[in-house]
């Protein structure tokens, strides 16, 4: 394989299926060094604000959604929202990541009001509404995706998170999230956003029911779109977390677990619920392999994020030598992953220390990867 040429789908598949991880890591580490020779690893101080957990999609891998009637269903009121933003700014935060369920009663007016009321009060970047939400808003208000994005942008939306991509393969989406938008819609939202000058990220959730071919299909789709638009700032691979989800627990969704203790589903995981689903979460070695391959495959995306939320700080630190150059967000609040039973309580100091102990300089950045503060 020519290491200076773009990796083909076939080559990518071979690297994913049977390559030596240390060799792959070394290669990705070299590419990362070339792209980011300054030996700095960045992170953003932001807060995840989930404005509602009521969702009509009910994806099988998700532990966060509720029905409107559920006793722990919620819609955040404005006072709570403002308080969360104030706290974020007080902690040096520059961005809020605003995502929520697809609420059956909201149309675009709700979102316009939400954005305007934030923007008229706070100087903060609103990184909000992943493609499934954008498509849902468009649908509810009978608008095109482009119109919807234009309106939201005018109301104050700055950039779009890359969530909801899961695996961009409709075969996999049919199992994971049959009601969620198809791959083409996800890509269409991102393409339109990029055309309007909005930057977005891209994610990939793996380790559920996908095959290696699906991962390659995903990377290929992202790379192709980036060739056309250049609008992705970063790629974020992360692993499916089986706790408290329909997909991870024999179809027995554990409702209301947010209020009680999160049950340990470790012992229950051995039941295979969906065809092809491994009873185990993706291991660290699989994570590092996909991460390294992502760095190599996505030669047109500048930043690759390590996922400390799903991997813990030790592996996230190791990931900095397997292709990652960014530590993502400090996640002042993370409701969604915590609901699936994974909860690493991590402070900004922990993140800075991990970056430094791994041999890098640590720096806070903004949404667009401009360095704000070095530590």
């Amino acid at each position: 394989m020519n290491k200076h040429k773009r990796i083909t789908k076939k080559e990518g598949l071979a690297l994913l299926k049977n390559s030596d991880l240390l060799g792959l890591g070394e290669w990705a580490d070299g590419i990362r060094k070339g792209l980011h020779p300054e030996k700095t690893v960045t992170f953003i101080v932001d807060r995840n604000i989930n404005y509602t957990n009521i969702c009509i999609n009910k994806c099988t891998f998700c532990a966060f959604w509720r029905d409107k009637e559920d006793r722990d269903a919620y819609v955040l009121n404005k006072d709570e929202l403002y308080k969360k933003i104030q706290e974020t700014i007080a902690l040096g935060g520059t961005q809020i990541l605003m995502q929520g369920g697809l609420h059956p009663d909201f149309d675009i007016e709700y979102y316009i009001d939400l954005l305007r009321s934030i923007k008229s009060r706070f100087a903060i970047n609103v990184h909000g509404f992943s493609p499934p939400e954008i498509c849902y808003i468009a649908d509810k208000s009978d608008l095109t995706i482009k119109e919807t994005l234009n309106i939201l942008k005018a109301a104050g939306l700055d950039s779009i998170p890359g969530g909801g991509a899961e695996i961009l393969s409709d075969r996999v989406r049919e199992i994971l999230s049959p009601k969620k938008i198809k791959s083409s819609s996800w890509l269409k939202v991102m393409e339109n956003a990029h055309m309007l000058g909005m930057r977005t990220t891209a994610t990939m959730m793996f380790g559920s029911v996908e095959k290696p071919e699906d991962i390659i299909e995903h990377l290929e789709a992202i790379r192709n779109l980036q060739d056309r638009t250049g609008g992705f700032t970063a790629f974020i691979p992360w692993t499916f977390q089986p706790g408290n989800t329909e997909l991870g627990s024999k179809g027995q969704r554990v409702k209301g677990s947010k209020e009680g203790t999160v049950p340990d589903l470790r012992t229950e995981r051995s039941e295979v619920v969906e065809p092809g689903l491994s009873p185990h979460a993706a291991t660290a070695i699989e994570y590092l392999r996909v991460l390294a391959l992502s760095r190599l495959y996505l030669d047109n995306i500048e930043n690759i994020q390590a996922s400390w939320v799903t991997q813990g700080l030790k592996i996230a630190g190791v990931a900095l030598r397997f292709g990652a150059n960014d530590f993502g967000s400090t996640m002042i609040e993370e409701n969604v992953v915590a609901a699936a039973g994974v909860s690493y309580r991590v402070s900004m100091e922990d993140i800075i220390r991990t970056i430094k102990n791994t041999g890098f300089k640590a720096a806070q950045r903004d949404t667009y990867y401009n360095i704000l503060k070095e530590f």
Partner: protein, 366 residues
């Protein structure tokens, strides 16, 4: 930079102190990992071992106050506990199904209890052996052996011989910490010295008891002190051949007097790899997942480790100091971790003998 060391490893030459320090200092973790993998493969092929085991900590009451320890309590202090032998037997039986224990080894370590006589430990061992004759008993660190000698007035050799006669099979490698006296004075001034630890192990090996060896790293020590520790173990192993596995233990900073930080994942991997390369006379390097975390332990299998310990069930000591790992894993989870690392899982007994494949198969499907 590592070319000279690399040649030494590939030609089977022993590494020097300088080589080892260079390996710790290198930024080239990939070459380090590949060399350690090469060394591991020469010893154990593509195998990675695990064991079904259970931990029993009979008491947390301890006369020592090691500064890195979050487990120990004084007698009468809140949270202090002591188990009767009946309670220990009950716990072991409660874990068993129709008297078929789901483990092949009991790992017993505890505090240095101010009142328990040596006879109590002998009775503990012999009663466990009586109830579970097929289970291997791996018990008491060198620190405890030294303490038994002091409270009973018997010599180390006599203590070891009596324990063995009552059913002790092997000994764990705890209490080694870092041998260097300066580090030891900071960490655990009351504890058995490095020389004392090595002397107990030498006596155990002579008495026909196989043991492990450990090193607690990531607190106040430097690379030179880690290497000195490894070299002293290598020297004793040359003489006795009694060590089975070396287990580097990552320091945990919570609920103790030293504080500080968790070791980085890269440091953990380096320590595993350097240990594999320096300890050329040790058959096994263990990535103890309780202390490294499940995820890092799996990656350690690509950096020279060939053992990830076991199912454990109810670990207490490291969890007192903020371990982020689970308290136990199923055999199925261990097997999956090993297979996904591209290694061949081998369920072993306390002496690294392969257990029957049939029982492994059943457990995977449990």
């Amino acid at each position: 930079m590592l070319a000279k060391t690399k040649n030494k490893v590939l030609s089977g030459k022993r590494l020097s102190k300088e080589d080892a320090i260079k390996l710790f200092e290198t930024d080239d973790i990939f070459t380090l990992g590949k060399l350690a993998s090469y060394a591991a493969r020469k010893k154990n092929g593509n195998k990675a071992y695990f064991i079904k085991n259970i931990h029993i900590n009979p008491t947390n009451i301890c006369v020592n106050r090691c500064k890195f320890c979050a487990f120990s309590r004084s007698k009468g202090e809140e949270g202090a506990y002591e188990m009767t032998i009946d309670e220990i037997i009950h716990k072991l039986r409660a874990m068993s199904y129709e008297l078929q224990p789901p483990y092949s080894e009991v790992h017993i370590v505890g505090g240095l209890h101010p009142d328990w006589p040596f006879e109590y430990y002998l009775e503990m061992i012999s009663r466990i052996k009586k109830y579970f004759p097929k289970i291997c008993i791996k018990a008491f660190t060198a620190t405890e052996i030294d303490y038994f000698s002091r409270i009973s007035g018997k010599g180390i050799v006599e203590i070891l011989t009596e324990l063995k006669r009552h059913g002790l099979d092997t000994m764990p490698g705890g209490g080694a910490e870092i041998f260097d006296i300066g580090v030891r004075n900071q960490l655990c001034p009351e504890k058995l010295s490095g020389e004392g630890w090595l002397a107990v192990m030498k006596a155990a090996h002579k008495a026909g008891i196989k043991t492990n060896a450990t090193m607690l790293y990531g607190h106040v020590e430097n690379y030179g002190q880690r290497v000195d520790h490894l070299l002293r173990l290598r020297e004793l192993q040359d003489k006795t051949k009694g060590f089975q596995a070396f287990i580097p233990l990552a320091y945990h900073p919570k609920n103790n007097e030293i504080g500080g930080t968790y070791s980085s994942g890269i440091d953990d991997l380096k320590t595993i790899a350097v240990s594999r390369l320096v300890l050329d006379n040790f058959s096994h390097i263990k990535a103890y997942w309780i202390m490294l975390g499940e995820k890092l332990s799996q990656v350690a299998l690509l950096f020279g480790a060939d053992d990830i310990d076991g199912t454990i069930i109810d670990e207490k000591v490291t969890h007192s100091a903020g371990a982020l790992s689970s308290k136990g894993l199923t055999a199925g989870e261990l097997i999956n971790m090993i297979k996904k690392a591209g290694k061949v899982p081998v369920e072993r007994d306390s002496f690294y003998r392969k257990l029957k494949v049939k029982s492994q198969k059943r457990d995977v499907n449990e």
